[in-house]
């Protein structure tokens, strides 16, 4: 009897312990009224130094904390607008650009913004030579000559370039994060071992933007605090709190419960799941990343235009976009993403197995087999399986070689792949970024190591090389646009690249949030316009 009682008591104790675990102790808080709370996966951030940041999440911060001489304006997305410079002009010979600074703008430290700060920042980017430095190196700026090429005179910044490039090319590049203006005095006060303040700027800010970086903890989040008196008008919220939430289902729950205001990484399934929720809304947008197949022309088959054409007609573009990629990607068939100067938005190719078969027969390629490198990410594998299936229907055997991303990139860079399914994000908001990679390869030799995507696929673009070089020098904006359009048409009909999709952004947010701008294909997120 004693035993029974005791046992029951243990049972009760155990139950009580479990109950305690589930007791309603939570005081559910909404997000603070004056703060914008965002969930995203931000583990791609390597640095928040604007002259080093080169990842999506890092550039989002840079865009809100710093400004450049010229800026993309979210409310006026028609090319570069005055930023810290009020006006600019280009010399007759097209090799000298003079920017006149606005007056009365201050950094978050209180220091006034001078032409010297702007020149210093551009020189700093070239000198510390981090990943995005090449965007500026394109103008002939090197660590050795940049002090002469980039100078400040009174309230003007004078930029000399080595060739008479298309002016829009320079302006577009100056809107990139790497060309952000930093507070020279503050940054140099934090210099350690000649790093020009790089170590300090990785986690601190010294800019003119609408926000200052209040704290940053890798893989946890960051906090931005609004400044008073920003030249573009004060931010509508006092602070922006970014929480690193890697799991989409978790983001969705947080959003549904109102614990965050915006979720940026929801899957198509989640987007569908919240579609009927009146408290939430979805903002659709495209990003700059494009997905493509490419074929290494060291394999002679891939020089056969009919064979390449057969493959172009053997992909179920729309079917993929509607099913496995639902909402996450849109069909896109040219190397410039929608949003770029000269981007082609028509999509001439669709799945036509009979046509593909006929083209294959015409090509004379016997029993073709494609070995396709694919990264071990779910969406890519699904895409590849669909392609494997439709290629199969057309009589082209596909073997998938699924592997780790960095390892496959290494093979790709070494021209060791046969075919590969890849994505490419543009580096700066000028068409040259993709033209110079997809359609430019001045030396197709292995030793040349040109590194462009064309080179990696052993593709000699021939005439396209000249078109790329000419377009980047064209000083008439409209003509330049037409040149890119023509170039893309030729490229998609003759090159060993099949561009298939452009990435879509689905930002889900509480219905009281408005004014959120993701930056689309050419810019980064802007938080200063958001109201809630």
């Amino acid at each position: 009897m004693t035993f029974d009682l005791t046992a029951r008591r243990f049972g009760l104790a155990a139950t009580a312990a479990l109950m305690l675990g589930a007791a309603p102790v939570a005081l559910l808080a909404e997000t603070p009224a004056d703060a914008l709370v965002i969930a995203d996966a931000i583990d791609d951030i390597v640095s928040l130094d604007p002259q080093e940041a080169y990842e999506f999440s890092g550039l989002d911060v840079v865009n809100n904390v710093y400004d450049g001489l010229v800026e993309l304006d979210p409310s006026q997305p028609t090319g570069p607008q005055p930023g810290l410079a009020e006006s600019w002009e280009v010399s007759e010979d097209g090799k000298t650009f003079t920017f006149k600074m606005k007056s009365g703008i201050t950094f978050s430290s209180g220091n006034p913004v001078t032409a010297e700060d702007a020149a210093f920042s551009l020189r700093r980017a070239v000198k510390i030579n981090k990943s995005p430095a090449f965007i500026l190196n394109q103008f002939g700026w090197t660590a050795e000559n940049v002090d002469e090429m980039v100078t400040a005179e009174g309230d003007t910044v004078v930029l000399k370039v080595d060739q008479p490039y298309a002016p829009t090319f320079l302006y577009n590049c100056l809107t990139a994060g790497v060309a952000s203006v930093v507070d020279m005095k503050t940054v140099m006060e934090h210099e350690v071992n000649g790093d020009m303040g790089n170590e300090w700027l990785k986690t601190n800010s010294a800019g003119t933007g609408a926000f200052i970086l209040k704290s940053y903890k890798p893989n946890e989040g960051y906090l931005l605090e609004a400044r008073q008196g920003h030249w573009r008008g004060d931010a509508k919220v006092k602070s922006v709190f970014m929480r690193h939430v890697p799991e989409a289902a978790t983001q969705r729950l947080l959003l549904e419960k109102g614990d965050i205001d915006i979720a940026r990484e929801l899957t198509p399934v989640d987007i569908e799941g919240i579609a009927g929720n009146a408290d939430l809304k979805i903002q659709k947008d495209v990003g700059g990343q494009i997905f493509y197949l490419s074929f290494n022309q060291k394999n002679e088959n891939y020089k056969n235009e009919k064979f390449l054409d057969a493959m172009r007609w053997a992909i179920d573009y729309q079917g993929l976009a509607d099913t496995v990629l639902k909402g996450n990607m849109v069909v896109h068939q040219a190397f410039l993403p929608k949003g770029y100067l000269g981007a082609l938005e028509d999509t001439p190719y669709s799945l036509d197995v009979e046509k593909a078969k006929a083209l294959l027969a015409e090509s004379g390629v016997q029993n073709p087999k494609v070995v396709m490198d694919v990264r071990n990410a779910a969406d890519r594998m699904e895409m590849a399986q669909s392609i494997q299936n439709t290629f199969g229907q057309a009589g082209i055997e596909v073997e998938l070689n699924i592997g780790e991303g960095a390892e496959q990139l290494k093979r790709y860079r070494a021209r060791q792949h046969d075919a590969t399914l890849q994505s490419w994000g543009p580096d700066y908001p000028d068409p040259q970024t993709n033209a110079g990679s997809f359609a430019w390869n001045p030396d197709n030799a292995d030793e040349a190591k040109v590194g462009t995507l064309a080179w990696r696929n052993a593709y000699d673009p021939g005439k396209l090389n000249d078109m790329t070089s000419a377009a980047v020098m064209e000083r008439d904006g409209d003509k330049r646009k037409a040149m890119y359009e023509e170039e893309q048409k030729l490229h998609r009909e003759t090159s060993p690249f099949i561009v298939m999709f452009q990435i879509g952004y689905n930002s889900a947010m509480r219905s009281n949030v408005s004014g959120f701008y993701t930056g689309g294909a050419i810019d980064s997120a802007a938080y200063w316009l958001v109201t809630k």
Partner: protein, 340 residues
């Protein structure tokens, strides 16, 4: 003297274990056919930039040299700099480990509070409904995927019922300004907020930790109750138990004093093991609950081949294992006179 020798021996075994651990992890990290440099410099880097990064990381040196440099630095508390985030590993680990420690400790406490009585209950009434129930609950605990349990738990207790806080360690309203308002003495939010007298944050932190801790506690309870049951059944079949019962000793005393003393010895190992397992960081749980702990830190680092971060994290896990071993050794001596 004997005690001193014991301590010396422990220190020696600690050193050997750690060195072995470092060695194995280091070798594995270097034989995987993945080039960490590409992951850092990105897709567009030129050959020159790649080479510069390789030199900067010391990857151009012979393997044995890299190993000695790593061990030498580790001894001075420098675990290197994370390739991915550019943050000193020691700093990142110092932030991630307390988060895991807090979660694992609470989970283990819950696991023991629920698991030991449940195991005893089942052992004392074998074949009964209670026994079957405990075994069923236990079976579910270690056969159901934690990932699934976590999501369902979140959906139910946070999403539908609203009893607990959501993913993350605090609500955004507290989390944003946490570091400016609370001194992170231990890095464990429950302790630090209590020390700071911020009871509003403390309560909020409880509401956030209770679900992941309860979930991990459940998994650990499943293991502990199963082992307790089998240890206890084994003891209850012993002659000294029969003797005690024949002498008319109350049953609770027979179980909780006589049998339990002997069950304790193996049980300590079981609990320590389960605790150590949780200290490695439960990756899936940490991911779902957006818990910035050691498990997700090491896994994220592994995915991009950020070897300094992986090695640093492993060292900390290794130290935790060795320390737990040491503590359970001491506890043995406490409960079992023969081990003294």
């Amino acid at each position: 003297m004997a005690r001193l020798r014991g301590l010396g021996g422990a220190a020696f075994s600690l050193a050997v274990t750690l060195l072995g651990l470092l060695f194995v992890t280091f070798i594995i990290s270097r034989v995987v056919p993945i080039d960490p440099v590409i992951a850092i410099v990105g897709e567009r880097a030129s050959e020159a930039q790649i080479e510069a990064a390789r030199v900067a990381l010391g990857l151009d040196k012979p393997l044995w040299q890299q190993f000695f440099i790593f061990v030498g630095n580790a001894l001075q508390g420098d675990l290197g700099t994370s390739i991915r985030t550019g943050e000193p590993v020691i700093q990142a680990v110092a932030r991630a480990f307390p988060a895991t420690l807090e979660l694992a400790t609470l989970a283990t406490i819950l696991g023991v509070i629920a698991g030991v009585p449940a195991g005893v209950l089942a052992a004392t009434r074998p074949g009964s409904l209670a026994d079957h129930f405990v075994r069923l609950v236990g079976l579910m605990g270690y056969s159901m995927p934690v990932f699934w349990l976590g999501l369902i738990g979140l959906l139910l207790f946070y999403g539908v019922l609203g009893w607990v806080g959501g993913p993350g360690r605090l609500d955004a309203a507290f989390d944003m300004f946490y570091e400016f308002e609370v001194t992170p003495y231990t890095g464990m939010i429950l302790i630090d907020t209590a020390l700071a007298g911020r009871w509003d944050m403390f309560v909020n932190a409880i509401s956030h930790i209770i679900l992941p801790a309860g979930l991990l506690g459940y998994v650990s309870m499943a293991y502990i109750s199963r082992m307790t049951r089998s240890f206890m059944m084994n003891e209850l079949g012993q002659e000294y138990i029969t003797t005690a019962r024949v002498k008319g000793m109350p049953e609770w005393r027979v179980i909780w004093v006589h049998a339990m003393r002997n069950v304790m010895v193996p049980l300590i190992t079981v609990i320590a093991l389960s605790y150590a397992y949780l200290l490695e960081g439960s990756v899936l749980t940490e991911t779902i609950f957006a818990w910035p702990g050691l498990g997700s830190y090491i896994t994220d680092a592994l995915l991009v081949n950020d070897m300094p971060a992986v090695l640093g994290g492993t060292v900390v896990v290794g130290v935790a294992f060795v320390v737990l071993n040491l503590v359970s050794d001491l506890l043995y001596r406490l409960v079992d006179p023969r081990a003294r």
